[in-house]
């Protein structure tokens, strides 16, 4: 086949276009959030003292950090879906939520008595956290990976890893409304570990699924 022949065939296919990556990713988030919502309603549910927790700074803070991670990873995913964008260019965006969390940790360490640090970091719910966040995020991760198949990432593994951050941020925000452990120390350790599992899963799956 001559290259000109191929071009003729491609031009005849001009009217058939794949949907934009952004629209597909948004759809994936809706599907993933709905699935997480069902699991959450059936198994976890909101903590009973939600209203009073919302009056503290720690509770809104952990939800905000999680949502920020989700939003930044969403933006980074759209960047990484383009073949002329690389992971380096998204690092600043992706660092926003961790930096915010680090500030929260610093504030907690500065204001809470040192004797309380250990108890706050270990909390009461660490094991559930490590199971529940991946469980709430799993559907989002799968849906996001399939949405990103429309993209053309330079590094499929990096694109998959960021999809893991996106899904993990979404799942963590939901889980945060159930978990009674509000300290940034707890969030920094256990949420990060749980989300790291999703990043690893996303990178591994992305390597295969996001090749183009």
């Amino acid at each position: 086949m001559k290259t000109d022949d191929l071009i003729r065939a491609l031009a005849q296919d001009a009217a058939t276009r794949e949907p934009a990556v952004g629209a597909r990713l948004l759809g994936a988030v809706v599907v993933g959030a709905a699935a997480a919502g069902v699991i959450y309603a059936l198994t976890l549910g909101p903590r009973p003292d939600l209203a009073s927790a919302a009056q503290t700074w720690r509770f809104p803070f952990k939800v905000a950090v999680s949502l920020m991670l989700f939003a930044c990873a969403f933006g980074a995913s759209l960047q990484l879906a383009r073949p002329n964008r690389c992971f380096r260019e998204t690092v600043v965006t992706l660092a926003l939520a961790p930096v915010l969390l680090a500030l929260g940790v610093a504030y907690e360490l500065a204001t809470a008595p040192a004797a309380d640090w250990y108890a706050r970091a270990v909390g009461t719910n660490a094991r559930l956290c490590l199971v529940a966040i991946p469980a709430l995020s799993f559907a989002s991760l799968i849906a996001a990976l399939f949405a990103l198949r429309a993209g053309a990432p330079r590094s499929p593994a990096a694109a998959g890893a960021v999809a893991g951050l996106l899904a993990g941020g979404l799942g963590a925000a939901l889980y945060a409304t159930h978990c009674p452990d509000d300290s940034p120390l707890f969030v920094a350790i256990w949420y990060s570990l749980a989300i790291a599992l999703l990043v690893l899963a996303g990178a591994g799956a992305g390597r295969r699924l996001l090749k183009w």
Binding site: D4, A14, A152
Partner: protein, 186 residues
Amino acid sequence: MADRDAHLTELMREAIRGDAEAYRRALEGLTPVLRAAVARGFARYGLGLEDVEDVVQETLLAVHLKRQTWDERQPVLPWARAIAQNKLIDSLRRRGRRVHVPLDDISGAMAAQEPPITTDGLDAARILSGLKGRQRDVVLAISIEGASARQVASRLGMTEGAVRVVLHRALKSLATAFRNGQHEDG
């Protein structure tokens, strides 16, 4: 250079809005740029130029199937070169080369002199022969014989819409066949 980029970018914008003729001209204009980028990569690895055209064709398929990843506000050439770069690296990896070229190296470089077309894409012909049934009929009629979708439709007793669907699926199959390196086995 800048003029050519601006011209191709404008053609590509019209193509995205569904103008098939502008699209054909955009792809024709992109091809020598892509060919030069791929040839530079092959030369850097001491490879002969006989397989350049296959990577060019694989790149054109990816440009087509991934054109929704181009940001229309940006010039089209850096994006298209990035696709060529990715396909070049895939191709080198399939040949068992260790790839350590920094990604920006070739895509950012000035265009070297454009190499001659060395083959018609021999592997592409082999891959094309791997298409089956309707997909093969439609692609051959449109690409080699230069028929329009409407002409193919009446010849094969299909609707024009059905021909377009078959064509699109066939192009996706071709891209998958390239990616799986089927031409390296043949």
